[in-house]
Symmetry: C2
Subunit: 150 residues, 2 copies
DNA sequence: ACTTATAATGAGAACGAGTCTCAATTGCAG
DNA sequence: CTGCAATTGAGACTCGTTCTCATTATAAGT
């Protein structure tokens, strides 16, 4: 099924209206070519002549999170600002390797991580839903430059 | 070495002063019996008659993070509020299993996770520093109660 | 189509965690 | 002790996020 239709179906299931704003916001999200924050989305919509309000964007993002179509990304263990969002499945990996020197982020795809999560939850009788792994490490370039962290 | 002395040594290495405020804040952190936020720390210190300021608490927490004695915890992938802190080593695991139903958090200790992180960073020529894994799953109790998420 | 009830939106005020400023205080080297 | 740079406290400030409420749009019922 088309992803737009999945959202509309989600709205219907909840007895919510299919508004023009919800459509436009979702379309803008589909246009994003990297994880985005609210500012970026708002700017993009303004550019296109939409006068969507900040409040409606936050409300729609919340709906998309609840629908399971969108997820948040937290790259830094501290960062309590500027939430990043990404469509589920748009980028293959949910796991990230973050360079503590230059901040560069790589996606990780390691079957072993998924298997470990399955093992852990199975052993404890939990029903696995998702996971998020962040590895903090110094990239080869930063090692060469002699950048130190901590 | 005593952990208090490790902090004082860190301050000395940086040529920073051993102030009463830094001592009292660290003592309060040692008294915490669970991951804490700044509010809780501030309240605890007020209770004890200390009139430490919010600014100094943030400044000292930052120093403790840099010293490697303290870490932050991010349990929810969304939460952009109220950072949680915990002494390194106070709770054994850095990885958490979070119930998406009741929010209950368990520590995870799985050697396999550490090994995977080592493998991943080694393959890419990175120098591993740390990692943080959060597994989101429904606990047995919540499954029994028929609580659904998403 | 038209009406109507009500869900949704927009504008901006409010909120709150975290940061910054600067005058007053404190630690500590000499 | 003294002198001075480092540190602190009070509170203003920032800015991402949430809330409020008057206005507007959706969709069910006719
Ligand atoms: Mn931004
Ligand atoms: Mn709190
Ligand atoms: Zn790097
Ligand atoms: Zn549970």
């Amino acid at each position: 099924m088309e992803i737009q239709q999945q959202f509309e179906q989600f709205l219907s299931q909840r007895g919510m209206k299919h508004t023009n704003e919800r459509r436009e916001i979702f379309r803008a999200i589909l246009d994003m070519d990297a994880p985005f924050d609210v500012d970026k989305l708002l700017f993009y919509l303004k550019q296109q002549g939409e006068k969507t309000s900040k409040a409606t964007i936050y409300r729609t993002l919340q709906l998309l999170l609840e629908s399971g179509l969108l997820r948040t990304i937290s790259l830094s263990p501290a960062a309590a600002r500027d939430t990043l969002y990404s469509l589920c499945g748009k980028y293959r990996a949910y796991d990230h390797l973050v360079c503590t020197g230059c901040g560069k982020v790589r996606d990780i795809e390691k079957q072993q991580i998924c298997l470990s999560c399955q093992t852990i939850t199975k052993e404890l009788g939990y029903k696995l839903e998702s996971h998020s792994l962040r590895i903090f490490a110094l990239c080869p370039e930063c090692q060469a430059k002699g950048i130190k962290t901590c």
